[in-house]
Symmetry: C3
């Protein structure tokens, strides 16, 4: 077997992604394969009914800002939140911040109205978050409305990133099916499934567990979710640390989540941003490794050699892509400073 053929074998192997991710070639059209990696180390909720807080988003150092329609907004304020969000989408320059909207769940009965109004805004969010997806039926229902509302607009090239929430025992059980369905719709071009969030508090309520700061009661769900998300090359966003004042616990949980493979964490207060960003930023060693590996890869690739060893290990495409994502993440971080 020639080394060229060997290399093509590597390239056809599904693409791994590590703490960072990108989907397999062939899984998506060229256009999506070319889409940049969107860092979401920090995913911060900002209540949609609170215009003052919404307007402060550009000053925040969060990677992703979530314009919130769901749990952070009382039922009596849902209508107000939707209107505010449309206004803010038009008014604010989010710059390097990933602009996301979290709609209400399918089971709430509010999601159709959410999508109708938000997808009629002049500017649209880069990312849509859908909470409490327990099974395929709910994702199908959401996707149907998405398609309809996107088609209603004149421009038809809108295709947001999609992030789904796993927040119940059924959702953990059905997670593989939910992801596969989401990836199928992504291939069709409706959206681009890009990540999964572990909604630990609703999960605990659902199965009757009690959350502790150590989160020992969540090991099974937390590790199954990150493994499954990463197995499909999706981002994995870890649970919220609720006690805003406890920075020590926040740091411990963040580092722990990063070690498990999570790429980011939900936050609910600006005071949590820096600690979490730091925990999910690749270390200096990792960046150096990525830089040198890509240099070696480029050299070998130009000479047509294909597979190669680096620091004593044989390098395959997953590692090359990991390295690329690390450098892309670092570049995006620097762009913000």
């Amino acid at each position: 077997m020639t080394s060229r053929k060997l290399f093509s074998t590597f390239c056809n192997k599904r693409l791994s992604v590590n703490g960072l991710n990108k989907r397999s070639v062939g899984c998506y059209s060229t256009s999506s394969a070319e889409r940049q990696y969107i860092p979401r180390r920090t995913v911060m909720y900002v209540p949609g009914h609170d215009l003052k807080k919404l307007r402060k988003i550009p000053q925040l150092n969060t990677d992703c800002a979530v314009l919130e329609c769901e749990d952070g907004v009382a039922l009596s304020k849902k209508a107000e939140a939707r209107v505010n969000i449309c206004q803010i989408l038009e008014e604010i320059d989010f710059g390097p911040i990933d602009c996301a909207v979290r709609v209400n769940s399918v089971s709430s009965g509010l999601i159709e109205e959410d999508l109708k109004i938000i997808l009629s805004a002049k500017k649209l969010p880069q990312t849509v978050l859908i909470p409490k997806v327990d099974n395929i039926d709910e994702l199908n229902y959401f996707t149907d409305i998405m398609k309809r509302e996107i088609n209603r607009r004149k421009e038809t090239n809108y295709r947001p990133y999609l992030i789904t929430f796993i927040e119940s025992g059924q959702a953990v059980m059905n997670m593989v099916d939910i992801i596969k369905t989401g990836l199928r719709f992504s291939e069709e071009g409706v959206y681009l499934l890009d990540g999964v969030v572990f909604g630990s508090d609703d999960f605990c309520a659902d199965i009757g567990a009690t959350r502790t700061s150590e989160a020992g009661e969540l090991i099974y769900a937390r590790q199954k979710i990150v493994m499954t998300a990463k197995a499909f090359r999706l981002q994995a966003i870890d649970m919220v640390s609720i006690d805003i004042k406890d920075q020590e616990s926040l740091e411990r949980q963040s580092l722990e989540g990063a070690r498990m493979g999570y790429t980011g964490k939900q936050i609910i207060h600006p005071s949590q941003i820096d600690t979490v960003n730091t925990a999910f930023t690749p270390s200096h060693d990792k960046v150096e490794w990525a830089t040198q590996l890509l240099d070696a890869f480029n050299t070998h690739h130009q000479s047509g050699q294909g597979a190669f060893t680096f620091r004593g290990s044989m390098i395959d495409m997953p590692l090359v892509l990991q390295a690329r994502n690390i450098l892309q993440l670092v570049k995006n971080i620097q762009r913000k400073q």
Copy 2:
């Protein structure tokens, strides 16, 4: 969408249950939906061959007393145990205690004889426990015998609660299928699948693990079992603490199990009852929360408003049912004092 329509959306959503449980409307006939929640914080085994111990059951403060045919009874005493159990079922007034019988496993070859004799007793147990269910075939086999033996009686309205045991690697792997099969038979009216027990010691023997007091080697199975049981709105009964003298370890394990979402625990000695009951009793705060939530729900429901917020969160039906179960459990506990 009107609030009335919204409310109906909530009601049709599957019913969540927390530390406590009740199945979805539609899943069972009206009659079963009306069945009371049976607390089983403590599930205590009493060997069927020991008439003296059996007669002491009414003095025990256990939620559930198990008249035991299986592991607690030597092979040479099986016949005696069956006869004793029939006698005790007739003789004793169990009062508020859930009266259960644990038959032998399908693979023991003893289960048919167990069911023949026990289901011919004058009074029948409220609950049947079937150990070592490794796959659907075993549950089908058991259910066929149940049907036949129940039909043999004149009164045909006997329909016990059923609790199955997960005690092997295969059982953990097949758990979802086993539960779905049990729920299907429940819809048919043979029994009412009401809970799952984690048989940790047989599980360890099956996979060659060694049990420690900390139970670190059991995290995967223990948390998968509770999550899956709760995802189907079943009770989840945690592993036995074997060392009867170690009250500290018993308390730690009980609290840990309750935090994971277990609703009760198996016990093997009266000295374990109080500690375990306490660990699985809802806290004062939780009872207060449930009382106030149900008050708010009733107010909104009467005014036709449907969905509502309570203490800052939007309330859905799962939370309403959780609250109901908490109060029902507390009521049952008080009934016994």
Copy 3:
């Protein structure tokens, strides 16, 4: 039911295996059922390109020696490694050591060449290890080449033990299907699937996790893998301890793995052998239990009594087989001393 019939019920029940293992009667042909249990407490990699190290294998106290083609061998040395391995297979008397070869993964594009050359050696390895099996397709691909290369030889009764590696999120997800496929090919007689290895470092790289010495980030995968392997009565080989100098950590990890149900551990240096062998050797108490249980079993079996109680527990066939495996393992260990 007569005790004879009862006993036959026991015997038809799938055979359990504990820390040690043997597959169910009926699962394999008589010949395979008669195959001895091969202890693999220590599974040590020896790089195929290093003739000097290969020649030292007979002096090692490892249970299994792996002639390594994969990660331990640079791309430029693969050809040399294959030739060396063929030479060593012929040259060395492995004595009581299980002689294994680890080929490259299917996705490397190197496996066909590996198998062609190694399966043309004069003497063949007792065991073949295939790394990075992520799905059924890869196992099918490997098996096709195995069949073809084995058929090419004149003697056709070669049937190695097969051990597969679980080293990615997809592999953990697909593990049950992979094992079932491997068992089907085992029934056909191509090989005898005998164990599963947890490749923790590639797994971490795959899902973007970071390995720590405590391995808290691996609980889900590590425990799911051992449970699933044991549920199918396969050996389970635990992760490598990378830090060769840290004997304390090695011992802790070994004892922990043994408690979880693993039957052995991968090692990368002779200094790790003794610690790991000790951790995975049955204790004196366990050996005594096994000896007495088998004595009791033989007595009852000869008298035609079938099922029986021993030390207060009813004994079923799984326990009998566990006892047998323990004694067989001990016998094999003694043979080496």
